[in-house]
Symmetry: C2
């Protein structure tokens, strides 16, 4: 077991695992708040939103909705304040991975850095800055309501696995065990690409369709022509996964149909639609763009994913004058 960041609490003999959540938006906050409840875990929350950081340090980090929690992470927006940590848990939007890990890598010189982000390519970005990377996929979701307060919309599982041979499964298990005990069920597996690609294919095939049309998930799925387009996108994603020897843990089509039910997420506005409505840069480069990238590397054509990516990037470009 690596010990570098492990400390002992004053007056206690419990070994403490130190985890730094990098990016405390909705998903990062779910991990930070829940993990901070554990006796044997010390949680740091790194985020650039100074109001959020101040609120967390003053009043704690409150979750409401799918669970009621007030956590007490040590929050900072100054990377120099971060001590050496056993684990990083990166939860920024995919386009912020590079600057976030660049700023914080010093805290993980002897630790492990896991990503629980959306999209493809985050592991590769992290691996350019830190030695030991853990691939991860997480399904819980929420929304930052105000500084220090996050709405917990959906509970869900997390899957973690070594990015390469520099990470022993035992270390992944240590992180997964902490998450599970904190109420965020996580599993450590040798190859986490199956759930990761299932989620990426799900997101890439549905989110941008909602974003481009303005329709909720359920309304996208009940239009036969759009549902056919969704399946066309799914099929390209499956082909790219198969070409890499990735076995999906379940069919993304099932997830799509399940989410379309009125009692599940019929009325859900995809996060990418929320981004478009708020004129925020979307994650399309890491979803459809990722499928196109890996398709290109493995000789699998992905014309529909390329088309969808180009359209969403076009929408983003329309916000600025040429």
């Amino acid at each position: 077991m690596r010990e570098t960041g492990t400390t002992y609490r004053q007056g206690s003999v419990t070994p403490v695992v130190r985890i730094c959540v990098v990016g405390c938006g909705a998903v990062g906050s779910l991990f930070a708040a829940n993990l901070s409840l554990l006796e044997d875990v010390e949680v740091w929350a790194f985020d650039l939103n100074e109001l959020h950081v101040a609120a967390m340090n003053r009043d704690g980090l409150r979750l409401s909705g799918a669970g009621e929690v007030v956590g007490r992470p040590r929050a900072t927006s100054d990377p120099a304040k971060l001590p050496p940590c056993d684990f990083g848990l990166v939860a920024t939007k995919a386009m912020h991975t590079e600057p976030a890990i660049e700023a914080t890598a010093h805290a993980f010189v002897d630790g492990y850095v896991a990503t629980v982000q959306n999209g493809l390519g985050n592991e590769e970005t992290l691996a350019r800055h830190v030695e030991r990377v853990i691939r991860g996929t997480t399904f819980p979701a929420g929304k930052l309501l105000e500084p220090g307060h996050v709405q917990w919309d959906v509970q869900g599982d997390t899957t973690l696995g070594p990015y390469d041979e520099r990470v022993p499964l035992a270390e992944v298990e240590r992180l997964a065990d902490a998450c599970t005990r904190a109420g965020m069920p996580a599993e450590a597996v040798e190859d986490a690409r199956g759930p990761q690609w299932r989620k990426v294919i799900f997101n890439a095939s549905t989110n941008p369709i909602g974003a481009l049309t303005g329709l909720t998930h359920g309304r996208v799925c009940e239009r036969p022509d759009l549902r056919t387009l969704v399946t066309g996108l799914v099929d390209e994603g499956k082909a790219v996964a198969a070409a890499q020897g990735i076995e999906l843990d379940a069919d993304p089509e099932e997830l799509i149909d399940h989410a379309a039910k009125p009692e599940v997420a019929y009325d859900h506005k995809a996060s990418m639609l929320q981004d478009i409505e708020a004129r925020r840069t979307t994650e399309v480069d890491y979803l459809n763009g990722g499928i196109v990238h890996f398709g290109g590397e493995h000789g699998v054509p992905t014309p529909l994913n390329a088309a969808i990516r180009a359209l969403v990037k076009g929408v983003e470009a329309s916000w600025t004058q040429s």
Copy 2:
């Protein structure tokens, strides 16, 4: 020469050709105003916009911009008022073809009905209601500024040809000759499908991309990923045209690159984008939908056109609650 609708003007021996423009929006008004200047042509203008009809009858039909004209068509929104006509010239939006020809077919029992509309399938719709149909494609464009007043944005050619063997080329020539003499250059050809498909492929490959992204024609074309998508759509359209033995009169790609020039139409907002911004039903069913339809009939796959059509229909659906 068919003579049924031909009359003689009082005090004159000039044989008069009677032409009814069905749908006097921008394009219909360009034809109606210009044709009404000819001594030997009597023009009727049928339109459901009663303010426009009243203005035309009161003050004439004024064009300004690419040409300054005040025409004097006989305007009506009451189909029962229409006399038997030698020619109809249908210029409604494609989705209004059916009701428009249903209401006016009685005026063309012994005449010829030409379409100068956008999109595919208009000839088939007209042929369900009248005997003799002329296929047509026109490039002039404009905008209805106010009742009785149309901005003439672009001059351009018109190509007309028999829809089937029931229409002799001589009759098509008679109509083309009148248009040409009126300042709307028109050519009669045996097979007008080449220019028609060139224009449809141009429109289907560019208009909805502008509509979905909010970008002008020039900005669509300068983004390599969107320009690639445009070419993907063009290639599908070309394959469907080729499968029907249609020879395009020019490469739509040339038209697309030409229009992207700053001095041509770089800043042009596609009419479909204007429709989307005004929340009007678009012509996508007759553009991309037409390519998909004829592709299906001839076994040519058109996944990109199907995707684009589905997305635009999805946008239209988003304007109403489910």
